[in-house]
């Protein structure tokens, strides 16, 4: 098993938006999906997870609706709103940009500068 990765501040929310963008999910499902996509490398703290969900919902980026889950239990399913879609796009672009810049700096060898 590969080493777990610690998430930088604020990225959890972006990951939740991404997970939800693939299709409506309930809270626990989002958690599982993120862990599954990351290849079980992300250890997400339950406390901060729900804080993030609540914040996203109150900002209007995701919206929750009560429905019945795959094992016949009432659960709150989240889906992306239009504002959430825009936000995800913007965040993704920002993240890729930043990652590229940081990586290019870190890749430099002494003689290249």
């Amino acid at each position: 098993m590969t080493k777990p990765v610690e998430l930088p501040q604020g990225t959890l929310e972006m990951l939740i938006l991404k997970a939800v963008s693939l299709g409506p999910l309930h809270g626990y499902g989002i958690l599982l999906r993120i862990q599954q996509i990351s290849g079980e490398r992300l250890e997400i703290l339950q406390g901060s997870f729900y804080t993030a969900i609540y914040r996203l919902e109150s900002r209007g980026w995701i919206k929750g609706e009560w429905s019945v889950s795959e094992n016949n239990r009432r659960a709150r399913f989240y889906s992306l709103t239009a504002a959430g879609t825009r936000q995800l796009k913007a965040e993704t672009a920002k993240w890729i940009d930043m990652a590229a810049v940081v990586a290019s700096i870190l890749d430099k060898k002494a003689d290249e500068i």
Binding site: H26, G27, Y28, Q46, G47, Y50, T51, A52, Y54, R55, E57, S58, K63, G64, S69, N71, R73, R74, A75, R76
Partner: protein, 891 residues
């Protein structure tokens, strides 16, 4: 959308889900996680435990939720609030005193604000009231005398064409009589040009206002009060007929309560189209007082400049044309601002002082109580509360007090604001309505917050600065910390000084008022009533009978005799606009042998020869005119002493000549005697009776027989034995025996009532009552402050006093120790207050228009000192009542 739904929607956008939602979701996650764990092979019990440990308590989830969406501060403040309310409930005495101190101040201040709002900021119900102007002539010779002028309908049209003018309203008042049922009632009608609806822009309560298509139609719109009085507020009155002067009028509208058009010429009972005035009066074209509404953004100066040439053209034929004058447009609010601004400013200053005293009181109480809370606060600090957190807690508690006080205060202000109107009804615009509206509420909320912070901050900062290490172990430290004492002293001194200021002001106001009531009037108002009659100028048949001066004089004399024949009526005299102590315009006159230059001014009073006897104005020299001279009206005059001293000082007044060229007052209803402007011989000098308001010196006056210039109305002065108003019924009968349809105008009043309506009299009475109330409240607050400081410190220092007494300290010494700080600060406050008052005395004297009296200042100081001493000693006697053994057991 209803308000409730709007709030719900707003709340939903802040907090999109309910507690139940949060908890249910959390439970479903908990269950799903637990099942996962079981699937991974954990035993069920173990899985539930692990799920709980990893996810936490369902109950705690709501807190996480609220923190996540940013409601944490809100929740904490809510906690502070609940805690504050609990703390207040635990200390009901403290809470009641603190809340009440503020309620008094906030209530009084809110009341004054709503009064100022109603009277000065928003007194009129008209659309664009700030653009409505009252045009005057301002004479170059007398720039302070504003003279109204009237215009014909064509002239109003000329004005309407001027560039800065939006619209022009013309109005004129007339007397009407209701004739369709039993009692003839004389009412006042206002004829309005038919653009009244758009010009005034006031929505009627029922029906409609006068509209352009009403021209020539006998329609009538009712004033609210008249509607209430005459029709008992019947909403189905529209369409019914009101018979006035034997002609039917259809009622088309009822105006709302606020509409009391207008203050200048008299509030109308009914409003009629101006075209009816034309139809009634067969004489010359009627003329109207104009109100000019300017276009938006036109300055008064620009409008004056633009309108003056037009008015000059119009006025070529007017008597004023020969004098130098210029046009002055005056916003309709200005007279009230001039008259009331100062009164209200002074009252506002009074209530603000009261509010500050109330705040100081709360500070004192909080500081005093803080000593008992030091232990609690120390514990909070010790377990990690930051200083900011404690300050916040204490401030929230202060705000709880101030907001509770504000709620009570606003409720009280609803009645308080009416008090000045009740005490001095004539000084306020009839149309200003006092009510609690959004501005007033916003004002009081702001005031409550300000007060809470003002009085809460100092104690909060002081109490939060304590060292738990010192405060915790030694609960019974025995001696009150010095800084708290210092703050008390300052607050008490300030409170006492301000109280003294209020008391001295009240003393001055009361003295001024007493002086007014004792002022020699120069006449005897007791048991004299004034009642007026109007001749039926609008009834052509009757008018033609009374049009001549002689017929009118005979008719009036006949009525006078009938009234005089009523048993126990001692004297009846005729007068026109001669009610003392009233102030009226002055006329210029010429006295024989005077040179050129500005003609002197005197008040011209048109009276019958019995006027002096009826009012008991003494005759000093010469004689009063005879009955024959009275019916001729010419060649004679009587003057008052002020006239004789001012204008005839060099020689004997009797036999001198004077004439009044400006006497004929052009009005189609007036009839003057042949020689009314000719030379008149002074045949008598009478004593000075107040004629320029009660507080002002008597101005020179000339008395002429009323028959020299007869108008369409006269007044009778009736001296009776006992209360004159009880004679009204028999007097009515006496008048009716002369002419059955001759009605007495509404509003017969005694001369004592006339004094009460005098502007200065009613203002002084207002000041003395309100400042008396303010200072009594302030005194009460200050005493409560002193009392509670001493009571608290005595309660805390029980041990110390017990020890002192046990060691043999004399009781007087212990008493001194217990009361020293409070006594010294109160004394300091009195000294500061005295110094402050003597400094402010001159300013106050100017504002109150009466001398600031040193006597009342010292009386107030003595009263204050005495009550402060009592407030100290009352709680302090517990200090010497402590049995030493019991006190020591506290240790």
């Amino acid at each position: 959308m209803s308000l409730l739904a709007a709030i719900r929607k707003l709340w939903h956008s802040v907090a999109p889900r309910t507690h139940g939602d949060v908890e249910e979701e959390f439970r479903s996650t908990l269950d799903a996680y637990q099942e996962d764990l079981i699937r991974q092979g954990l035993p069920e019990e173990e899985a539930r435990r692990k799920a709980r440990i990893d996810l936490g308590q369902p109950a705690a989830q709501n807190e996480i939720y609220r923190a996540a969406i940013g409601l944490r501060l809100f929740d904490e403040l809510g906690g502070d609030l609940r805690y504050g309310l609990r703390a207040l409930r635990r200390n009901p005495g403290f809470a009641a005193v603190a809340v009440l101190s503020l309620a008094l101040g906030i209530g009084a201040t809110t009341a004054m604000f709503s009064l100022i709002y109603a009277v000065l900021l928003h007194p009129f119900p008209y659309a664009g009231a700030d653009r409505i102007m009252n045009p005057h002539f301002i004479l170059a010779q007398h720039p302070d005398v504003f003279q109204w002028f009237t215009l014909s309908e064509a002239q109003l049209d000329d004005l309407r064409l001027a560039a800065p003018v939006d619209s022009v309203l013309g109005f004129t008042n007339g007397h009407l009589e209701i004739t369709n049922d039993g009692l003839p009632e004389d009412i006042s009608g206002v004829y309005l040009t038919e653009n009244a609806e758009t010009f005034l822009g006031v929505r009627p309560l029922f029906g409609r206002m006068i509209e352009p298509f009403d021209a020539g139609h006998p329609v009538v719109v009712l004033n609210y009060r008249f509607w209430q009085r005459r029709f008992g507020g019947d909403p189905h009155v529209i369409g019914r007929t009101l018979e006035m002067d034997h002609a039917p009028y259809m009622i088309v509208g009822v105006m709302p309560r606020r509409f009391a058009f207008n203050d200048i010429a008299g509030v109308g009972d009914v409003y009629l189209p101006a075209s009816l005035m034309r139809a009634v009066a067969n004489g010359p074209a009627p003329s109207y007082l104009p109100w000019i509404k300017l276009r938006p953004h036109v300055t008064v100066a620009a409008a004056n400049g633009a309108l003056e040439p037009i008015v000059r053209e119009i006025m070529k034929i007017h008597s004023v044309a020969s004098l130098a004058w210029h046009l002055g447009l005056q916003p309709i609010i200005v007279p009230y601002q001039q008259d009331l601004g100062r009164t209200l400013a002074l009252l506002l200053a009074g209530v603000v002082l009261l509010l500050i005293i109330g705040c100081a009181n709360c500070s004192i109480l909080l500081l005093a109580r803080g000593r008992t809370r030091q232990h609690e606060l120390a514990i909070r600090t010790a377990i990690g509360a930051s200083r900011w957190r404690i300050v916040r807690q204490l401030l929230v508690e202060a705000l709880v007090i101030s907001c509770t006080g504000a709620v009570l205060g606003v409720a009280a202000s609803y009645w308080l604001a009416r008090l000045p109107l009740l005490l001095s009804p004539d000084s306020f615009p009839a149309e200003s309505v006092i009510r609690i509206n959004a501005s007033v509420l916003a004002f009081s909320v702001a005031l409550a917050l300000l007060c809470g912070i003002l009085f809460g901050l100092a104690p909060a900062l002081r109490l939060s600065r304590n060292d738990p290490a010192r405060a915790l172990p030694g609960r019974q430290a025995g001696v009150v910390a010095a800084p708290a004492r210092r703050r008390w002293s300052v607050l008490i001194a300030a409170q006492v000084a301000l109280t003294l200021l209020l008391m001295a002001t009240a003393g001055t106001a009361i003295r001024g008022f007493l002086r007014l009531t004792q002022i020699p009037l120069g006449y005897d108002p007791a048991n004299v009533m004034q009642l007026g009659i109007s001749l039926h100028v609008d009834n052509p048949a009757e008018w033609s009978r009374l049009q001549s001066r002689e017929a009118r004089a005979a008719y009036i004399e006949q009525i006078r005799e009938k009234i005089a024949s009523v048993p126990r009526v001692s004297t009846v005299a005729v007068g026109v606009d001669a009610t003392p102590p009233g102030a009226d315009v002055q006329s210029s006159f010429i006295v024989d042998g005077s040179g050129d230059g500005e003609p002197p001014q005197a008040r011209v009073m048109l009276v019958g020869q019995r006027y002096f006897a009826a009012l008991r104005i003494p005759l000093l020299q010469g004689r009063v005119w005879s009955t024959d001279e009275n019916s001729s009206g010419d060649f004679i005059a009587v003057v008052n002493r002020a006239f004789a001293t001012r204008y005839l000082s060099s020689s004997n007044a009797l036999g001198r000549q004077l004439r009044i060229p400006a006497l004929p007052f052009q009005n189609r209803f007036t009839a003057s005697s042949a020689q009314s402007t000719a030379w008149r011989q002074i045949i008598g000098v009478v004593g000075d009776a107040r004629n320029d308001g009660i507080g002002r010196p008597v101005v020179p006056a000339i008395y002429l027989p009323y028959t020299t210039l007869m108008r369409q109305y006269v007044e009778f002065f009736v001296r009776t034995q006992g209360d004159p108003l009880t004679y009204l019924h028999s007097i009515r009968a006496a008048v009716a025996s002369v002419a059955s349809d001759q009605q007495i105008s509404n509003g017969a009043f005694t001369l004592n009532e006339a004094i009460e309506h005098d502007a200065q009299y009613s203002r002084q009475r207002l000041f003395s009552i309100l400042f008396g109330v303010f200072s009594a409240m302030a005194l009460g607050l200050a005493l409560v402050g002193i009392f509670s400081v001493v009571a608290y410190s005595v309660a805390q220092r029980t041990t110390e006093f017990g020890v002192r007494l046990a060691l043999g300290a004399p009781r007087t010494k212990v008493l001194w120790v217990a009361t020293r700080i409070a006594l010294v600060s109160a004394a300091a406050g009195i000294v500061i207050g005295l110094a402050f008052d003597s400094f402010l005395g001159a300013v106050l004297a100017h504002w109150m228009q009466s001398a600031f009296a040193a006597g009342s200042l010292f009386a107030a100081a003595a009263l204050l000192a005495l009550s402060a001493l009592l407030a100290c000693l009352l709680p302090a006697r517990h200090a010497i009542g402590v049995p030493p053994a019991e006190a020591l057991r506290y240790e």
